[in-house]
């Protein structure tokens, strides 16, 4: 009898709470990405959830860590225009080269695919639409970022958003390059 009451209460609670949670998810504000500094470009790296959620996907450039990327996280890297090559590594290594354009934002995703012993990170180019399609992504914590200046710290992102409008489109250069 006592158990029946508990189950009934749990069911009633979940019925009340679920729509609220669903609404919170639906109403979540879109992630604001600041425009890159003038003359620079930037790449938004993100990792959707899925397989291998316990594994990190550490993004490196020229052998130096840019940032770790846990499941459901993203970070923004400001870079000089030109070709940049990134690598991720676990039991296997994967690379991605991107052409950073001045005043533009590009996107790249990291997924953990099936591996023999552990999952293997797979880094690939992505689009803004794909990035926006993943709900609930959160910025990487500052302590998970590399020692260099690559990944923007949360306070830097906040400052950039305060001074410049958020990027509306990944493919709209903000200023003319003379």
């Amino acid at each position: 009898m006592y158990h029946k009451h508990i189950i009934a209460a749990a069911v009633a609670l979940s019925a009340i709470a679920s729509p609220a949670i669903a609404r919170d998810k639906k109403d979540a504000a879109p992630i604001a990405i600041p425009a890159p500094p003038a003359g620079k470009g930037q790449i938004v790296f993100y990792r959707p959830g899925g397989m291998g959620f316990a594994m990190g996907c550490s993004v490196n450039e020229n052998g130096q860590k840019v940032s770790s990327l846990g499941a459901g996280k993203y970070f923004i890297m400001v870079a000089d225009p030109g070709r940049h090559e990134f690598s991720v590594k676990s039991e296997a290594k994967d690379r991605l080269a991107l052409e950073v354009e001045p005043d533009e934002t590009q996107y790249a995703s990291c997924k953990i695919k099936m591996g023999l012993m552990v999952g293997r990170p797979d880094i690939r180019p992505a689009t803004e639409a794909e990035f926006r399609g993943h709900q609930g992504l959160k910025m990487v914590d500052a302590e998970d970022m590399g020692p260099g200046l690559g990944a923007l710290r949360p306070e830097q992102v906040a400052a950039a958003l305060g001074g410049a409008p958020a990027v509306a489109s990944a493919e709209a250069p903000a200023a003319a390059q003379q």
Binding site: E101, R120, R124, P125, A126, A176
Partner: protein, 203 residues
Amino acid sequence: MYLQIFLASTALACVFSPARVLAQAVPVAAEQQGAVTATVAPGAPCAPSLVIPALTPVTLEMMAPLGSKISTSGDSFPLRLAEPVIVDGVTLLPAGATGRGEVVHAKKAGGSGVGGELVLAARYLDVCGQRLRLRSMHLSPNGRSKTKTVDTINMASAAVAPPIALVGFLIKGGEVTVETGTEAEARTATIFTLASPGEPQSQ
């Protein structure tokens, strides 16, 4: 009498013909002069006043087949201007100029459902013996990923028979191909002007 008429008509023809020729020549010269100052006529795009602003949109056409399976990072490939460059109603450059692009990144599709990857960049067009630098060609298609299928097999097999998960290694993602004739948008990287002979290029 006939001889006099013939001589008179010949003399008249000699007097008026140069005038007619001149009258025909003047509009042509005026048109050509106008073309130099206002617009560049197709087939004569190398007027000294040619100025193409930075970030001018251009439509490019790939002139070779490209793909995650057949291309290699660092490969150079031919492209051409597919549509004339028109700014404020003025044709600055007719279609047809050729140039080069670069395969920035190419990766074949792999096991575990991973699709092929291809990142392409437009580098330049040859215009009047100079290079018109290009940027912002967003042509980076990915092959179809089947990682979700592999994940589903893994989840299902974990409960029933874990060795079945090994099948996932054999599932290959889709390759990506860019056919000859594929068009893509790009932009001019810098302001383009024609340098006078002996002058350094303005790029």
